[in-house]
Every structure is written in structure tokens, then in C-alpha cells.
Symmetry: C2
Subunit: 459 residues, 2 copies
């Protein structure tokens, strides 16, 4: 599809999308992504930056006595604006929310908080909820692809593209017309922000980016419903998002096979609780260790062969001093998978600074790999070279890391990840987790979405 006004085409698509237009397998994947997101949202409970944002929200007016949306980490009620803000912060903390490889964009953490908060406030149906979620995914992913690699070098795409994705979701929940949806895009896009500078300091901005993308997107759509006008070419215009924040933007990506290609199904689940840029190498290391029956003690050194984006994002951290920083440290991630076979929230929390892990970390280097870089971001190939203590040079490779569309998680694996996260943070007991899961798998057929935890109590 080509058009001289892609912002309008994309907004019209988002405003017009109905549940019945969405193929069944896409609906099913959306439900899986919802359950996966819910686990991440619960997993953020107790995290200092998340609790800070929750405290601010409460002081700023969240607890105004008439909110119908739930803040999942503490089960309080708030207005949709603040519930979306806090749930978005929470669901990006443990670094296990989903990601679209090609867009380098985390859709769930900005889309679901908005959809859930507005659905709860309006007692909307599961069908409308799913339509709003799919609209958000399709919009956000295409904007991430459009903004390109030059954008992602400095900007956190989940913050920038995420603001418009949140607006698309909110706009669909609010039933905006195509014209209003375009206004919502304009008001959202002009607020798009999020810089990578915080990574160097292990600062708390990542959760702030998702919190504000969700909140600002919701605000943009609410304003549009009230007639507030936005720029009509905020994405592709001469002084729009790409003009300001990209040097390789490709407008054709914005409308790529709308309604035919379902980008939502290309989204990867994050199996390891680490920055996605570490996953391909982690799985490649697991593969070579399994193939040759290696123990961590057998390994002299590891070379992770990566794309430039991995070096850009991971390069700044050399000696991690916090769990969050460790999740962006290739050496720590490879050490954890070498010792535990998995780098989950518990492995990070308990093991990132352990002596054997620290020692293994020092044996890992990253090098740029031409093939991996060429394939990226469409494919995230994992390649490692392992030198063993007994002098062998072995190579490991995965073409699709675990959780990617061609190597996706089963519903059982998603439920297991959910239980691990709820248990890790203490946001829900085992029994509560079971009730939450039961209800979440059935979200698409809910007639009136309400409290998640009240369902639990009634059960």
C-alpha cells in the first residue's frame, strides 16, 4: 500500500479495526501476549523506580476516589491515566515484556496498560479490548520500523513510537473516528520522547519512558475525543517525528500491508529476564554447551558475535553494580545461562554478583559480526565462539532465539513464566495467580471487563 499521507492511513486503520476483522490465530496470540504482559506487570511490584512512580501518581491525583482502573502492583483503584502510567512502569521493570525484533519495540508494556485501564473504566467487552490491543501493536510496530536504526541509536523506540501506539490503543477503546484518531496521533507524536543516555548511569528512566508513553498516549486520545487537534502528518511531515529523530526513516513501512500482515504475531516473548540484545548469544551459548556437553568450568573464554545495535546498547556497562545494569551486561547474562541454563528474575537477583558469575563475566567479549548485523533487525541471529580450557574452539549458533515467532513459547511456558514473576515480586499468591491466569486466558470472551483481583476474590 502506498499513500502520500501515511499518518492518515495508519490512523484510519486503527480507528476502523474491528474484532471480526482479526484472524483467529492473531486473537489467540494477542491473548498469549496479554497473559505474558500481566506477569511482567505483577513482576514490577516492589521495584524502587516503579514504587516511586506509583507514589508520585498517588500524590498527583491518582487516588481521587472515583477511579475504576486497577494499579496491579498494589491493587488500588485509580483513574485510567494513572493506572496506565503505573502499570506501564511496572511491566517494563523485569525486562521480560515482549519485543518486536524488526521494530526494536516493546509493544505490550505501552499497549496493555492503556487497554486494560480504559476497558475497566468503561466495562468494555473483551472483543473491544482485543481490537484496541491489536490496533496498538500494528501501529507501534510499523512506526518503530519506519523510524529505523538511526532513531534507535539515541532514542528508546518504546518511549517514542510507544506514545503513538498507546494513543492508537486508547483511541480505539474510546471509539474515536478516523479524524479524531489522526488528532490523537498528532498529540501523541509531538510528545514522543525517551533517550538512551540513562543506560550509562543505570538510571531509572526506562520505566519512566513506558509510564509516560502510556499516560501521554491515553491523554492524547482523550483530548482528541474532546476535539483537541493534532498535526495531521506527525510521523512523516517536514517537522514531524522522523524529521526530528531519524535519518533513515522509510514512510512505506508505516502502511506495510495493513490488515493483511499482522505484525503482532511477529512479536517475540522474552524468555530470559535480560535485555533482548543478549538473548541470541545466550541461546547460542546454551546450544554449543548442550551439543558438546560443556560445563561452565570447561570454558576459557567466549566471544559473542553481535550486531552493532547490541554494542551500542550494551557497550556502556562494563561492571554491573545493580540487577538492572546486569541485565544489560552480556558477560553476566552468558554467565547466568552457563551456570543455570536460564537467566530469569530469580537468577539475576540471587546470582548476578556471585563469584563464579563474576569470574565468567570477565571471560566474555563482544565483537561486531557482519552477518548478524546484516540480518538485524529482521532476524536476531545468535553466534558465539567458545574456547575451552582443553584448547578447542567451538561455535554455537541459533537462527531464532527462544520466544521468537518461529520458536515461540507454549501456553504452559507462558503460564510458568507468569507464576515465576508473580512469585518473585509477591504480587500474587499461587492461588491468586491461578485465578488470574484462568481469567486472563478468557479475556477475549469477557462481556464486561472489570477488576482482575475482584474476579479472584469471587472465585
Amino acid at each position: 500500500m502506498t499513500t502520500d499521507h501515511p499518518s492518515r492511513a495508519l490512523a484510519t486503520f486503527a480507528a476502523s479495526l474491528h474484532f471480526d476483522d482479526i484472524p483467529q490465530h492473531v486473537v489467540e496470540r494477542a491473548v498469549n501476549l496479554y497473559v505474558d504482559w500481566l506477569g511482567s506487570a505483577l513482576g514490577g511490584k516492589g521495584a524502587r523506580p516503579v514504587e516511586s512512580i506509583a507514589l508520585f501518581a498517588s500524590m498527583a491525583g491518582a487516588a481521587n476516589g472515583n477511579g475504576q482502573a486497577e494499579v496491579l502492583i498494589d491493587r488500588t483503584r485509580a483513574t485510567p491515566y494513572f493506572a496506565a502510567m503505573v502499570n506501564a512502569a511496572a511491566s517494563h521493570f523485569v525486562e521480560q515484556d515482549d519485543v518486536h525484533n524488526g521494530a526494536v519495540f516493546h509493544p505490550a508494556t505501552v499497549v496493555f496498560p492503556v487497554a486494560l485501564a480504559l476497558a475497566q473504566a468503561a466495562r468494555a467487552s473483551g472483543r473491544d479490548f482485543i481490537a484496541a490491543v491489536v490496533a496498538g501493536y500494528e501501529v507501534g510496530i510499523r512506526i518503530g520500523e519506519f523510524l529505523g536504526r538511526s532513531h534507535y541509536k539515541v532514542f528508546h523506540t518504546t518511549g517514542t513510537a510507544g506514545t503513538v501506539a498507546a494513543a492508537a490503543t486508547a483511541g480505539r477503546m474510546l471509539g474515536l473516528s478516523p479524524v479524531q484518531m489522526l488528532d490523537a496521533f498528532g498529540s501523541a507524536g509531538t510528545q514522543a520522547s525517551g533517550l538512551w543516555e540513562f543506560l550509562r548511569d543505570a538510571a531509572d528512566s526506562k520505566q519512566l519512558h513506558t509510564a509516560m508513553a502510556a499516560a501521554n498516549g491515553l491523554m492524547a486520545a482523550s483530548l482528541a475525543a474532546d476535539g483537541f487537534k493534532g498535526a495531521t502528518r506527525i510521523l512523516e511531515g517536514e517537522k514531524g517525528m522522523a524529521a526530528g529523530m531519524s535519518t533513515d526513516a522509510d514512510p512505506a513501512r508505516l502502511t506495510d500491508r495493513l490488515g493483511v500482515r499482522w505484525a503482532l504475531t511477529e512479536t517475540s516473548f522474552k524468555y530470559h529476564a535480560a535485555c533482548r540484545h543478549t538473548h541470541p548469544a545466550a541461546d547460542a551459548l546454551l546450544a554449543v554447551m548442550a551439543q558438546h556437553g560443556l560445563k561452565p568450568q570447561d570454558i576459557e573464554r567466549v566471544t559473542a558475535r553481535v550486531h552493532q545495535g547490541a554494542i551500542d546498547v550494551l557497550g556502556a556497562v562494563t561492571l554491573p553494580t545493580t540487577v538492572h545494569q546486569a541485565k544489560f551486561n552480556m558477560g553476566t547474562v552468558l554467565a547466568l545461562v552457563a551456570y543455570h541454563g536460564y537467566a530469569g528474575v530469580t537468577e539475576f537477583e540471587e546470582g548476578y554478583a556471585a563469584a563464579p558469575v563474576a569470574a565468567f563475566r570477565g571471560k566474555v567479549e563482544m565483537v561486531f559480526d557482519e552477518e548478524v548485523d546484516r540480518a538485524y533487525p529482521a532476524r536476531w541471529i545468535g553466534k558465539v565462539t567458545v574456547h575451552t580450557r582443553d584448547g578447542r574452539e567451538l561455535t554455537g549458533r541459533v537462527d531464532e532465539p527462544k520466544g521468537d515467532p518461529g520458536n515461540t513459547l507454549s501456553r504452559e511456558e507462558i503460564a510458568m513464566k507468569f507464576r515465576r514473576l508473580a512469585d518473585f515480586s509477591g504480587a500474587a499468591s499461587d492461588e491468586e495467580a491461578s485465578h488470574l491466569l484462568d481469567a486472563a486466558w478468557g479475556i477475549a470472551s469477557e462481556t464486561r471487563i472489570g477488576s482482575l483481583f475482584e474476579v479472584d476474590v469471587r472465585a
Copy 2:
């Protein structure tokens, strides 16, 4: 002052600034700017985009029953977050809030809403209020200068630099330590946004930018008070604001003569209610008309000789269809001053589409001028060439438009402008305006800043 860590130097300055450090003439100018801002904030009452933002704020949680900050357009109480948001939207609507020429930045509209809301909530003193205001001006202006002309081509500096200015103001009001202030800068800067794309459509984003700069800056400082960490080099870092949004950033500008040069006093009052880029030519036209005793009917055509920034910002609007768009239309502004000697809110509202104005508009063209462009943005020179019906070619010139530091407004002129704006919007009666003015001139010596309107009632 040179430093390898300008973000820190600037944050430390802002956190450490005390009232007694500020020269008396700077305090006096700050009070003048406050009164000028208050008029603009009242002037926004009833404006559709402003009322939309106020409605959203109220639905999102502003009216939570314990707010101590005032929303000036409707005299309701709200939390500081929402009061700052709405007052910032309101004070940027009539296009008469102040501007710093060199930074192309409107400080008042993002600084005062934050300072006033937090002062009211804490019943702070006028001395602390002034210190917070001066901190915000000094920080925001230097960041605007730092980001440079390349930034302003696409980004609305008042939205971007304004977010950090608001954080500096809020941080000073909250008594942040230098380390916390640097955190606040980090959380604010990573949220910096605002694109010029909306101008083409005459969309409502300009007030959204100031609303969110104020609110996000206040949030950033509040989070910092709670230990929320921000990037320590958000301004100059490799993935910071300049890296993402400027190609000609000059870090030396960030710390230019801190504590010696008071950039606040370089701020211009806006005499005409139009985009600042039109003012030099408007005053030059008034000058040539006065010098030669010309009436509008004597004029065949006018060539406004302008800097590139004026063409970039004003160029998009050819036929204004709204008052707001008219304020960004050189032809309309020159027509209004030609007929009325002044382009104020009333002249725009009643006259922008009048037949003689529309006819005059068609006689105006803008051309790039080498000398004007070289001087910009340090000096905003106005040059026009007028061709008269009787065949003369006359030139008009002003080296400093009315309201600029060397041609500043008197307190009487500021008060008159205040009364015009309050009357225009109906936000305050004549009597209320008198009471508000009396109190506002004395803000620096207030012991406990409270409600502005209650003072009015008690009087």
C-alpha cells in the same frame, strides 16, 4: 566557566541558588515577568485547547479533594501537577508570554506555573519563589542556547528545554540537593519533546507542549526527591538531548557565566499578541509609517526582511483560518499594526479576517535577509521595505523591537497589558485585576504564598 560535566554544573547552580545571591534588579525584573505571565495565564481562559486540557486534567484526577494549587482560569484547586499543567497551557495561548531571543525560548509559561503551584502547596515564601523562578530561567535559557538553531528548526524549544527549566524550578522549590537536581534534569530531559509539525495544520499542540513541559518537569523533580535516578549527562551525553535533537549544540553555552550573567534580564516582553518572529518587522513597519506619515491605504506592498527561522516557522501558513494561525502569519500581523498601531488579542479576535486586513495581507511578502539572519538569534532586527501607491520606496528599521531588554516595558505598560488580557478572557473583573496586580507586584516579600483569588476576596 568550562567544565567537562556541564549538566552537573548547571544542576548544582540551580540547586544552590539563594535569594540573597540574586541582584536586586534581577529580582525586580523577575517580578515584572511574573506579573506579565499572570496576565497571559488569565488570558487563556475560555480558549478551546486550554479548556480541553483542563477538562482532561479534571477527569484524570486533578480534583482529588486535597489540592492546594490554583487553576487560574477557573479558580478551582488541584494538585500542583495538574495546576501546573493547566496554567502552563493557559499562559501560552494568547502568544503574549515572554521570550528569550537568543534561546528562542519562552521561559515564563513553563517556569511560573510550576513555581506558583508548588509555592501554594507548601505555603512557601516569596524569596524561595523568586529563587526557584530565577533558577528555571537561567537553566532553560542556557539549554535553549546550547541546543542551537538546528534544534529549533524542528523542535519547539519551549517544550524541550522547557521541561528541564520546569524541573529546575520545581527542584529548587522542593529544596533538592545538587545530586537530586541532576537526577531531576535526567528524568526531565529524557521526556523532552515538542515538534513544530502542528503549525501547518493550526493544530493545538503548542499549549500541549507547555502543559506537559511544566507537568513533566514537576514530576521529574518530585521523583528525584524520592530517590528516582536520572541520567547524569542528559544534556551533553552521547545519547542525550543534543545527540538526539541538535547538530550544532555548543556545551559551553550551558554554563556561560553562571551567577554573573543573569539571562533572565535578557528576556523580552511580548508587546504584540503574535508569534515573536513577526514583531521586528511589525515595529519596523510602524516606524516607517510614523516617519513618513503613511496610512495603510498609502501602501502598495511591503517586503519584510527576515531571518531564516522566521521563514521556517511562519512560512507554512499562507491563508490563516483561525486566530491562532493568524498570529503566525506575517501579512496579518503587519496588516493589524498598519490599521490599529498594535496587534493585541482584541485586534486579532475582531480584525484578523476583516476585509481591509485580508487585502493588506496579500500585499506582504517575506524575504530572507543576510544581515538580519547573521544577527539572529542574539538580536532580532526588524527591516521592511515599503512601496507606496505614489511610487516611493521607503525603508523602516528597528534594532530592538518593543519589549526587548533595551526597549523594555514599564510597569505601567505591563499592568495595562495585564488588564487587557484579563478583560479579554473574562478571567477577572477590573476590580479583581487591581487586587491581583497589587498582590503580584509584592510577591517577592510574601511570607507565605497562598491563593491568589482568596487574597482578592479578603481585600
